[in-house]
């Protein structure tokens, strides 16, 4: 009881203290799970993977604009996380660590192919579109059209702006963290985000 109470007095420390077992700590912080995985607890990795598999995949897909390349970046990112677990320490949020790796892998891929990321986005299947909960077919059609317009507009963004927008939208990170990931100055990052949002709003105007 006393030990539990003392942990409540130290919430910041408890947040990054590795849980003894991932199964006992499904709500453990990402950083605590990563520390557990570093110490050999493989179920902790499963929890982390479960949390970030879909956001990271969507980020890779939207960033590269190519399903095959996105899968490659996605897999290489997780393999890098696994390989670097022994050196992992909590210096930043796990999400920053993860998406920084993804950014570097994508950049490596572009360098390898000696080209900029493709701007053409894959066509979105009708199956991919979310099912509308309401029974308003007009509303559902409008929502689908908006999303298509948004994705098309994202695809036309310059690579730097697109990446900044995707990091912001996918992770909710602040400008400074995004700047650290993309290795750009915070002012430049802020400008890129502003330009990207302006471009996207303009593209969505027709649907609003």
């Amino acid at each position: 009881m006393e030990i539990t109470a003392s942990i409540y007095w130290l919430p910041a420390l408890a947040a990054v203290t590795p849980a003894s077992k991932a199964a006992d700590a499904p709500h453990a912080s990402d950083e605590a799970l990563m520390l557990c995985f570093r110490d050999g607890d493989e179920p902790s990795f499963r929890l982390l993977y479960q949390r970030y598999r879909a956001p990271l995949m969507r980020f890779c897909q939207r960033l590269t604009g190519n399903a095959h390349e996105a899968e490659e970046v996605f897999q290489e990112t997780w393999i890098a996380v696994i390989d670097s677990r022994a050196r992992y320490s909590v210096r930043a949020r796990f999400v920053t660590f993860l998406f920084a790796i993804a950014h570097r892998r994508a950049a490596d891929g572009w360098r390898k192919r000696a080209r900029q990321p493709v701007t053409a986005m894959p066509a979105l299947d009708h199956d991919e579109l979310p099912a509308s909960d309401d029974c308003d077919p007009h509303g559902a059609a409008l929502a689908n059209a908006q999303m298509r317009a948004l994705q098309a507009a994202i695809a036309t963004l310059p690579a730097e702006q697109r990446e900044v927008f995707l990091l912001r939208a996918e992770t909710g990170l602040g400008v400074r963290e995004i700047a650290a990931i993309t290795r750009a100055r915070p002012e430049a990052t802020k400008s890129r985000l502003r330009y990207a949002l302006r471009h996207l709003r303009k593209a969505l105007c027709a649907w609003q």
Binding site: F45, I82, A169
Partner: protein, 104 residues
């Protein structure tokens, strides 16, 4: 009344998630399992190598140690000499007080 327009970020977050394929999931999770197994194997290899190194050092130490390494104290040497002298001693020869007198 003006309808609030959703921001591009909100709209993006409402877009459908793109889940990786089951094969991709399996590959990543298998890599995590393999990494753990490799790490364990590595730990055992390091421990085994350390134990072998200690054993080898111990063996080399024993094998290269000679009797000359021990300090010669001479303890018992005199007693050994005394034994040989006693063996050579003619015990039939009468000794002691009165032996010479008896012969006379």
């Amino acid at each position: 009344m003006a309808v609030k327009r959703p921001s591009p970020i909100d709209l993006y977050r409402a877009s459908p998630e793109i889940a990786p394929s089951a094969q991709l999931d399996a590959r990543v999770l298998a890599a995590a399992r393999t990494a753990r197994a490799t790490s364990r194997r590595h730990e055992w290899l390091v421990a085994g190598a350390a134990a072998a190194a200690v054993a080898a050092m111990f063996y080399i130490r024993i094998a290269t140690t000679t009797s000359q390494d021990f300090a010669s104290t001479g303890y018992g040497r005199d007693e050994g000499l005394a034994g040989a002298w006693l063996m050579d001693l003619d015990l039939q020869q009468p000794t002691g007080p009165g032996s010479q007198e008896g012969l006379r």
